[in-house]
């Protein structure tokens, strides 16, 4: 999409009173997923299968319950490199054969790594479900970790590190996360030249041996498939995989945040400022997640939220404001982000804190609460109508240990959120006096607007403290 210009960078919400002449919408329809078949193999591998027959294809995901947070502090990127390199050769297939077989089944094979997990995912025509499971199993269990492919991967990752340093959005988020999480592994958002230099085949092999174990994994299969046949295929592929005790990450306590901590990354001649504002939030499995989601939806998690209405629709400061809550296994964070014109950098920060203070003081007002709840209830069936969307939801459920009836009860739990809960949730997630502000921009163009902020810490593109730019 980078060629075409879209109205909204992301698709969001609203909450408004009714107008005249507007056709009504019928009552909400019941939402029911096909029953999930869940089985645990003798070696501890959990297998979850859901039928979804919209298209004749299947998505197979093997999730290893170890991700970025299992990287040793000086080896950031180890989990990612492991997930990438296992696809590049097994004892019986070389890199090209792996791709060719995936293509021949109408599909693809990709790796995705997050803070708490690593996923190997393949999709293809459903008639090949058993073979796709076999392919994923082979790369997970029998990788050869070839040195020549590792050299290419390292080069690609080094390039990514270099490119990230010219991305203001990346730098803003990275500085923000470092400030919020401190020594906690969730502070780490990317590899560095040093960590990539230190990750060698032996370290990847050790990581793989420790973490790629059946009792540290979940196999999720969504598609036009027969669940019992899939369970049998999983047993055949994974039955002989030996279990092991994967080490759990150690989570240092995040720093306690007192006052507004301001960071500035100098980017000479930047024509915009990339701003992040936020703080710590509860972990994904926190039972308050529903009210926190509703509060964030009203605040900045949707198009007709207060933040977007204020700084985009009314003031025209920026194209891309918004806020999001992200929950991981051990903690979470809330972050407002926007790229704004240099000349409105200071005013944007002031408006965000004005909206934060209003949310904290008064919570939802008027029809906002009802609007946000109806929106969240309505988009849920759209998000889960595609195989990819459903697979993502199931992965979230099983990784974070959400209740088994999470999809079926999501909408009623959103509906039950009260005005008081939203106010309390706002006080919980939107820090005002205690928060992190990370700005990436050209200091000479914006410094006059930032004079009201407390002491500012200047850092370079590598995150190291520097003196204030001239």
């Amino acid at each position: 999409m980078n060629r075409a210009a879209a109205i909204a960078a992301f698709t969001l919400l609203a909450a408004v009173a009714g107008a005249q002449d507007r056709p009504g919408v019928g009552p909400e329809r019941p939402f029911q997923l096909a029953p999930r078949v869940e089985k645990t193999l003798a070696n501890g591998l959990r297998v979850v299968v859901t039928r979804q027959t919209a298209v004749p294809k299947v998505t197979v995901t093997l999730t290893i319950l170890s991700g970025f947070s299992s990287d040793p502090p000086d080896l950031t990127g180890l989990a990612q490199m492991a997930a990438d390199i296992v696809q590049e050769g097994t004892r019986t297939r070389n890199s090209r054969q792996i791709r060719r077989q995936a293509f021949a089944m109408g599909g693809s094979l990709t790796a995705g790594v997050s803070q708490d997990f690593s996923s190997l995912s393949t999709r293809g025509l459903s008639e090949y479900a058993a073979q796709l499971i076999d392919l994923v199993g082979d790369v997970a269990m029998n990788p050869t970790l070839p040195e020549d492919e590792l050299a290419i991967l390292r080069q690609q990752h080094l390039q990514t590190v270099s490119r990230q340093k010219s991305s203001p959005q990346f730098l803003s988020n990275r500085q923000f996360r470092r400030a919020v999480f401190g020594e906690h592994p969730y502070a780490r958002t990317s590899e560095t030249e040093a960590s990539l230099g230190a990750i060698d085949r032996a370290k990847i092999e050790a990581f793989h041996r420790a973490h790629y174990r059946p009792n540290n994994a979940i196999l999720l299969v969504v598609g036009d498939v027969e669940p019992n046949a899939i369970a049998a295929a999983a047993e055949k592929t994974f039955g002989a995989w030996t279990k092991g005790d994967a080490p759990r990450p150690s989570f240092a306590a995040p720093p306690s945040l007192v006052g507004r901590k301001v960071y500035f990354v100098q980017r000479p001649n930047s024509i915009q400022s990339s701003i992040s504002i936020g703080n710590l939030a509860p972990k994904r499995s926190d039972p308050r997640w529903f009210e926190l989601t509703v509060a964030n939806t009203i605040f900045g998690g949707a198009f007709n939220s207060r933040i977007v209405r204020n700084i985009r629709e009314e003031k025209g400061y920026t194209y891309s404001p918004g806020s999001a809550m992200t929950g991981f296994a051990d903690a979470g964070f809330y972050r407002f982000s926007a790229d704004v014109r240099n000349e409105v950098t200071g005013p944007t920060i002031a408006e965000v804190f004005k909206e934060i203070d209003l949310m904290r003081a008064r919570g939802a007002e008027g029809a906002e609460l009802q609007g946000a709840k109806t929106y969240l209830r309505g988009v849920f069936p759209i998000q889960t109508s595609t195989q990819g969307g459903l697979a993502t939801l199931l992965n979230t459920m099983y990784v974070f240990g959400l209740p088994k009836d999470y999809p079926e009860t999501y909408r009623e739990k959103i509906a039950a959120v009260t005005q008081e809960q939203v106010k309390k949730a706002s006080e919980t997630i939107f820090g005002s006096d205690n928060s992190v502000i990370a700005i990436v921009g050209d200091w000479s163009k914006v410094k006059d607007q930032l004079s009201s902020l407390n002491e500012i810490t200047f850092v370079d593109v590598d995150g190291k403290p520097t003196p204030a730019p001239q």
């Binding site: 909204a8 609203a14 293509f103 629709e313 025209g316 759209i382 990819g388």
Partner: protein, 425 residues
Amino acid sequence: MRRTTLDNGLTVLIQEEHTAPLASVWCWYRVGSKDERPGLTGVSHWCEHMNFKGTENIPRDQVKGIIEEYGGSWNGYTWIDQTTYLETATRDALDRMLFIESERMARCLYHPDDVESERTVIISELQGGENDPDQLLDQELTATAFKAHTYRHPTIGWLSDLKTMTRDDLYGYYRRYYVPNNATLVIVGDVDTDAALARVERHFGAITPGTAPARARTPEPEQTGERRLAIRKEGTTAYLKVGYHAPSATDVDFYPLLILDAVLTGAKGLNLWSSFRVPPPQRSARLYRALVERGLASAVYGSLLPTEDPFLYTISATATERTPLAAVEAALVEELDRASHDGITEAELKKAKAQLRARMVFDTDSVTNIAHQLGYFETIGSVDLFVDAPARIAAVSADAVAGAARRVFAQSNRTIGWFDPLPAA
């Protein structure tokens, strides 16, 4: 899929898909940045923004909320040939989605205050793009490759025009192009075709047609020599882009070139709306092997999209650290020369076709994506181009690919762009 034309000229495409209780509505206008004249670059996209800013029957602060208040998703985009708006929601909201689109077609307000607030939002959007070296290079390469055709200016417009355009410029443009005889309405989902068509008639039937907009365009003359540009600006990464004037969607060379792109950089399919979601399979693609496996580039990507007039086939590469752009360029050009001399093998042809077929299944995995494809192709030519695409791909021979490679990859037909980063001061 049923195609109907209302008396006022509105084209309606309806396809029933009963896999989930959802419906997607897209309203397409045959107007994009290629229809803009000097002084008004960016007007199509700005109109798109204004068309979310209030109508006679939907107050200005509610156009974006009216679909979301019961949990629908919406968006819109503008590109060189088209402007489009979409809603996807429960099928029970079909009436409301059609109501919104009928309001947007005939009754937008263009309040002067909203024109001013959107001016700065769009300038911020433009600056976000220029802040990204890859997008900046893409914009400058396109502007260099075209000297006559209006594909040369960016969809977002030039900053000077965005600063000076008036409310009347915008409103006049809106009234000229937003008429039923210049639009296509697409509905895909859990609907009954006859009932849906009756609702379309109720919401749109009374909108009066306009004069068919004039379409005066200068065709791009044949390029007579290689063009080059080099951007030197703060950055950390060097980028190379090579653009060739490419066949339009209706040209016999289009599908052969699409297959050639799959061989060179991996199959992408044909969906502008969803193509960014999943990277193409490219480990065995020729340029991946020539550039990435050899350590010259960390990434390479090809882009060919169906367009109404001949646009560009662009290949982009990200140089690895310390590799001079000239070395990346030489290796890339050598591969393209090889393709134009020797064509592709039967095995490559077969594999590229299989990859494209698979991508096209994934390109149409939701009611939203199917509706996008129907409307996109109808707007740039005809929906038949989409319906016939699988057969046209199947019919491509290795000779046809070789012929397309010879015609497209001529040295005189290309523009080469470098982004050469300056270390931060």
